[in-house]
């Protein structure tokens, strides 16, 4: 269980996150929805250690992990699939996946997980020896999620997995996220595509200009008139 309390993050003098609190129970899918600039990406970057927090706490399974360095978060069980995918363009698909196993001593386990990724994303398997930079946007997203699976965290942080993808691919990615969750991985999903996110999530939090405002079971949040108007375009 991940518990975030009163999180604050500043970029210089700008307060990107002012007061964000939420909980991600084990085995569930929790989504943070909100407009551009609401602080969704910054929240995930703080959780994985890419950004220093200036207040509040991040507790994973009872352990305070606030402000640990990013590379130390990985062995603790945080896998972050960043915004914009951040594939290594001149490494092959397989090398990208192998590097995701950097902190895992047992290389057999890494190979097994890579096979698992190939099962989930057969298109990635076909491209295993191609350079990451030559993949299409959708394939890069699959590879990015695949790296998240290989790092093998308890909790997978997904930042805008649907961004820039054709609608048919969006459906595919979301059904794969559900499949990963069914296998036991907890998921924290950040999305602008609120409709799809609310559809697969168990719980939802709404982020507005650095604050968490509404929250509740995803089904109820999807019915909330304010959410419907602001994020679902109804």
């Amino acid at each position: 269980m991940l518990v975030v309390k009163n999180l604050k993050v500043n970029y210089g003098k700008i307060e990107a996150i002012k007061d964000v609190s939420f909980e991600v129970p084990d085995g569930k899918i929790v989504t943070l929805i909100g407009a551009n600039g609401a602080g969704k990406t910054t929240t995930l970057r703080a959780l994985s250690g890419l950004e220093k927090t200036s207040g509040g706490s991040i507790v994973l399974d009872g352990m305070d992990i606030t402000n640990r360095e990013a590379h130390k978060m990985v062995p603790l069980g945080i896998s972050h699939v960043p915004e914009g995918r951040k594939i290594f363009p001149t490494l092959t698909v397989r090398e990208n996946l192998e590097l995701a196993g950097w902190t895992i001593k047992d290389k057999k386990l890494v190979r097994e997980r890579i096979e698992e990724v190939f099962e989930l994303f057969p298109r990635i398997k076909e491209r295993a020896s191609q350079l990451g930079g030559t993949l299409s946007g959708g394939e890069q997203q699959m590879l990015a999620v695949g790296r998240g699976i290989v790092t093998g965290g308890k909790i997978l942080l997904l930042d805008e997995p649907s961004m820039g993808l054709a609608p048919v691919l969006v459906d595919e990615i979301f059904s794969q996220i559900l499949a990963i969750n069914k296998k036991g991985t907890t998921i924290l999903l950040v999305e602008q595509n609120a409709a799809e996110a609310l559809d697969i999530a168990d719980f939802a939090y709404v982020l507005e200009v650095g604050y968490t405002t509404l929250h509740g079971p995803a089904k109820e949040i999807a019915k909330d008139p304010r959410v419907r108007e602001a994020y679902l375009g109804v």
Partner: protein, 303 residues
Amino acid sequence: MGAIFNAQQIVNGLQVGSIYALIALGYTMVYGIVRLINFAHGDFYMLGAYAAYGAFFAFNALFVGKTGLMAFVVLIASMAAGGVIALLANRLAYKPLRYKPKLSSLITAIGVSMFLEYFLSALPAVGPSYRSFPDILPRVNINLGNAVISNYVIIDIVIAAVLMVGLTLLIKKTTLGKAMRAVSQDKDAARLMGIDIEKVIAFTFLIGGSFAGAAGLLAGMTYPRIVPYMGIQPGLKAFIAAVLGGIGNIPGAVLGAYIMGLAETFASAYNSLIGEGIAFAILIIVLLVRPRGLLGEKIADKI
């Protein structure tokens, strides 16, 4: 023109190019990974030469009659010195400035360079004047048709080639090499894979510094004299070679270095003053015609 473009000059050019290549690799690798032009890099070359000199006189008595082993010990000493000093420079001077404006690191690099040169000159055991470098191996001239080639020249070319093949294998095949490439491409993504990027950066300085150190030994043996300021000119030329090949690009640095070595040797055969200047002429032409270098990638500004 026959006197300029003959076998003798080509071999000499390859030898000069080999020395430049070993230095240029460190420049380009460090630039690739931390975007720093490490102007102290030529001084790691100088320190390699002095460490080799010191190791020779310290251990010479132990290796009487075993010149091959002695040469190996001296090579290790030069690489260790270049590598360790590069590690220290990174840890003490560059790391604290990592996320500060780039100009701070650049000026610091010049400071590190001057510190190393003047500190060594001030050390009574080293001093500011030239020292002649001992013959670690017997000096033999080999006649090849019209060319007379010193065995030292061959040794320089071969050792540089062996080290560069080793580096290629390290970068292409090992997990650490892949991590180096990953860190140079995207630091945040590398951290999210669990890679401690500071360790990878330190390792890059170690390798780059050790290659410069080896180059210092080879140059010291071949020319054969050393001085605390011996790194300035080759350092500058190796930097130009790295820019010529496309800074940050490893094969580019090697290509640029051999082009520089050959161009300089041919030009010197014509007129030694032109030889000294040709590197800078090449730099100006590259910057005007193809600023990203021969093998450099087009850098798109991130929005």
